[in-house]
């Protein structure tokens, strides 16, 4: 694509007093894409979002929207001139305005026929075509959040910022709404930055996931890459469960020798001692006398989750491995089982 990114952050840093909230944050968002900004609580996600929105001025760095500088050392475009619409937690609908008036809030001629048709179009888009005259208090939490999205999209913003938009809703509703919102955003060809601390939410909704750890973008790539080939151990551990074992990279740098035998590497690594990261679902539990089982271990504990379960296995060398299994395959505690690793794994330099 030769088109400039919809949003670009260059070397953005920000401190609150002595606390380094963001340092050298770089990332860009393509037109029409959904980017998840994923990170643990207190990792600077909300500060970054407020900097993009123009509610906080970064102490260092440049923010560009549609290739136009909106914040750097000498330029400051305030929030209301940026065309960046915000969908905060819990929707934050204006309680004194009806649904239609909320959606029309950002439009310039609020009483024109044009506005009326835009409001109707937006309410249609979010699946609430008949709710225009209702007051926010008459809507359920999920409906309020969809109105908040309609209000944000009505102004045709350059970027829509969603700040943990579903954290106030219960789990079941959250998943349904998540799918609807992704659909709505794509239908509107909107560019969106979606802040979340929920890995599943980020992986399942976004075209691109930016992992923000300790005030820094640790990795930004498509969801599959982030999960399967994280570039640092921190990203690997944040984005999903891992089993970490020691190993030696051997041969041409494509194989690692571990307690589970020789395993192929996803990425080449220089020869020598490494830490090996294995996802729990890469393990298979077999009978102790199974021919493929290079290593056996004792089952210390099992956890049953209904759809699946995990097993804690202690290896002869004392290492623990947590293995994810189909629930009906859970072995009994105290038995000895064989463990096989499927697929390729990642090696990182030991810390």
């Amino acid at each position: 694509m030769t088109q400039a990114p919809a949003l670009q952050l260059v070397d953005v840093s920000h401190r609150f007093g002595d606390v380094d909230v963001l340092h050298n944050v770089n990332f860009s968002v393509d037109h029409g894409s959904i980017t998840a900004l994923l990170g643990p609580s207190g990792g600077g996600k909300t500060t970054l979002l407020r900097i993009i929105a123009g509610l906080e001025r970064p102490q260092h760095g440049t923010v560009l929207i549609d290739d136009k500088v909106v914040a750097n050392a000498s330029v400051w475009v305030p929030a209301h001139e940026r065309g960046v619409a915000l969908v905060p937690q819990e929707g934050a609908l204006f309680p004194h305005l009806s649904v239609a008036e909320n959606v029309a809030f950002g439009l310039s001629k609020r009483r024109s026929a044009e506005t009326r048709s835009r409001v109707a179009e937006m309410l249609d888009l979010v699946g609430l075509p008949t709710s225009g005259s209702l007051m926010p208090s008459e809507l359920s939490g999920g409906m309020q959040q969809r109105v908040a999205l309609a209000r944000a999209l009505a102004t045709k913003p350059a970027v829509v910022l969603l700040d943990e938009p579903f954290s106030a809703l219960d789990a079941g509703l959250r998943e349904t709404l998540r799918d609807q919102v992704v659909e709505i955003l794509h239908a509107a060809h909107a560019t969106a930055v979606w802040v979340t601390h929920d890995q599943d939410e980020a992986l399942s909704t976004a075209d691109s996931v930016a992992v923000l750890l300790a005030g820094h973008i640790a990795q930004k790539s498509d969801p599959v890459s982030v999960y399967h080939s994280p570039i640092t151990p921190d990203v690997a551990q944040f984005i999903g469960e891992t089993v970490v074992v020691g190993g030696q990279v051997i041969g041409t740098g494509n194989t690692v020798d571990t307690a589970f035998g020789n395993i192929g590497l996803l990425r080449e690594h220089s020869l020598g001692s490494v830490q090996v990261m294995i996802r729990p679902e890469q393990f298979e539990i077999v009978d102790a006398d199974h021919s493929g089982a290079i290593v056996t271990g004792e089952v210390l504990a099992t956890r049953y989750f209904g759809h699946d379960g995990t097993v804690d296995v202690r290896m002869p060398d004392g290492n623990m491995a947590t293995v994810r299994l189909h629930a009906r395959l859970l072995p009994n505690v105290g038995t000895t089982v064989g463990v096989i690793v499927h697929g390729r794994v990642l090696a990182f330099d030991p810390e």
């Binding site: 209301h80 619409a85 209000r151």
Partner: protein
């Protein structure tokens, strides 16, 4: 939270309001020491001053104790007793708030002239003040969890022991804050003690002003009064103790405790014992005045004109107070640091200033600094604004806090700048609170006596000055129509508001 950037005009206005409200204090201090420290100490250390302190102290203490007892009793009747007709009782018990203390006092004196002095002042002030205890205490009582009482009962406690050991300790804070309001009111009230001719600070300060205007003495006595008010505020912060926090999670469980006929009868008698002196005596006597009036012609045009003047004064005061209070409240809610706290704290200093002190200091400022305005309408409004500013700031603050910052941020992100956001989001959401605060200020300004008395332009009459002028010469027949107009203007809205909120509570 937003930064102070771009808020400079609002911060500036907030400081203007704060400085305006500090005028009385500035005057008192300069005036007290104008003749040097020696004169100040001479005025202060007179036998008469000591006697005054004693009299004011006794009156304040006894009114406070009596109000705590009556206020707690009436709170218990309206929330925990389980008697029927509690809504009606709640409204009746809060009605004394609407009757100006000087009007109630004159009603008592016209009926029982011998009561004037300490007894009369004590009765009238207690009747006027106990609602200040009842309101916070009954709010706290309705939040109490009956489960605690049930547990105590299963452990063998009697009803009285439960009240003393379980209920009362949880009421410490509301009782302390109510008692502070009562004590400040009793200390600074002018109308009731003047009508009862009971020589306490406010009445003597007024005398020092009237009798040839001895400004140094008036200012010195005022400073003592202010020091007492500050001491009371400090004592209250000690007495309220540490917050016990809110351990209670669920909403109110209803109390099912039907009363026996005997129990209900006792509560009924107790209610009458409160309502007769606080409402019955004033209202009946005012109606009796009207009977005397009917023997001569009522000057309706004068009644109308006076009521209109009260209305104009009250509205002007409410509007100016609102305009000054808005930036102060906005800074307190939306800014951080010194710009947030300082204007609000500064206006709060004047919270405990007695009306008579504010009145005298504004007279002085008028003579010295704003001569063309002396005894003109603007200076009268200025004096009233100083009195009502702290209360208005508090109610605006509560109203503005209803708008979460996130709503304003969403408005910004939708292309609305700061001022337009204030107009389109913050103010509309706060509007009910703003209107209620303004209406209360207007009613309070209509009832207000000392500032109006001292600062009114020559020839201007309001309901409060008419009542004062005629009552001080015991011409009760002439007072009648004005007193009734005052009751209608002051008490009717209170009763209506009470009924409305009671009906709303009943629905939910």
């Amino acid at each position: 939270m937003q930064r102070t950037r771009g808020s400079a005009p609002i911060v500036g206005l907030a400081f203007v309001a704060a400085i305006v409200s500090l005028v009385p204090l500035w005057y008192l201090i300069t005036q007290s020491f104008s003749q040097g420290l020696e004169t100040f100490l001479n005025e202060l250390l007179q036998q008469r001053t000591l006697t005054l302190m004693w009299r004011s102290g006794i009156l304040t203490a006894s009114v406070t104790v009596a109000s705590v007892l009556v206020g707690t009793l009436t709170a218990w009747i309206t929330t925990m007793s389980g008697v029927r007709g509690r809504t009606l009782l709640t409204i009746s018990f809060s009605l004394p708030l609407a009757i100006p203390s000087y009007l109630a006092a004159f009603a008592w004196v016209s009926w029982l002239p011998k009561i004037s002095g300490f007894t009369g002042a004590f009765i009238v002030l207690t009747a006027a003040c106990y609602p200040y205890v009842m309101l916070p205490v009954s709010a706290a009582m309705s939040r109490l969890d009956p489960v605690h009482e049930d547990i105590a009962r299963t452990m063998g406690r009697t009803s009285f022991e439960i009240f003393r050991e379980v209920v009362l300790p949880q009421l410490r804070r509301p009782i302390a804050s109510g008692a502070l309001l009562v004590a400040l009111y009793a200390l600074s009230d002018f109308g009731a003690v003047a009508a009862m001719r009971h020589e306490v600070f406010t009445w003597v300060i007024y005398g020092a002003y009237r009798a040839g205007f001895n400004p140094t003495r008036a200012a010195t006595l005022s400073l003592v009064l202010i020091a007492a008010a500050f001491a009371l505020t400090f004592a209250e912060s000690l007495a309220r103790g540490k917050s016990t926090g809110n351990v209670r999670a669920n909403t109110a469980r209803s109390r099912h405790r039907p009363r026996s006929i005997g129990g209900s009868a006792i509560i009924f008698v107790a209610s009458l014992a409160v309502l007769i002196p606080s409402i019955g005596v004033p209202v009946v006597n005012i109606i009796a005045w009207l009977n005397r009036t009917s023997t001569r012609a009522i000057d309706w045009s004068s009644v109308w004109a006076t009521t209109g003047q009260s209305f104009v004064n009250g509205s002007a005061t409410a509007i100016v107070t609102l305009m000054l209070a808005l930036p102060v409240a906005w800074c307190a809610v939306r800014l951080r640091g010194v710009f947030s706290v300082l204007p609000e704290r500064l206006t709060y200093i004047t919270h405990s200033l007695p009306g008579i002190v504010v009145a005298i200091s504004v007279v002085y400022v008028g003579i010295r600094v704003a001569r063309p305005w002396y005894q003109e309408f603007p200076l009268l409004i200025f004096g009233q604004v100083i009195i009502f500013l702290p209360v208005m700031v508090a109610s605006l603050r509560a109203a503005l806090e209803k708008t979460p910052v996130s709503l304003e941020e969403v408005a910004h992100s939708l292309g609305t700048n700061k001022w337009r956001t204030l107009l389109r989001v913050t103010l509309p959401i706060a509007l009910p609170g703003i209107l209620a605060g303004s209406a209360l200020t207007m009613l309070a300004a209509v009832k207000e006596l000392p500032v109006t008395l001292l600062l009114r332009p020559t020839g201007m009459n309001t309901l409060s000055t008419r009542i004062w002028d005629f009552s001080t010469i015991s011409d009760y027949a002439a007072v009648g129509p004005y007193a009734i107009a005052m009751l209608i203007l002051a008490a009717l809205p209170t009763a209506l508001l009470g009924t409305l909120s009671a009906m709303k509570d009943g629905d939910s």
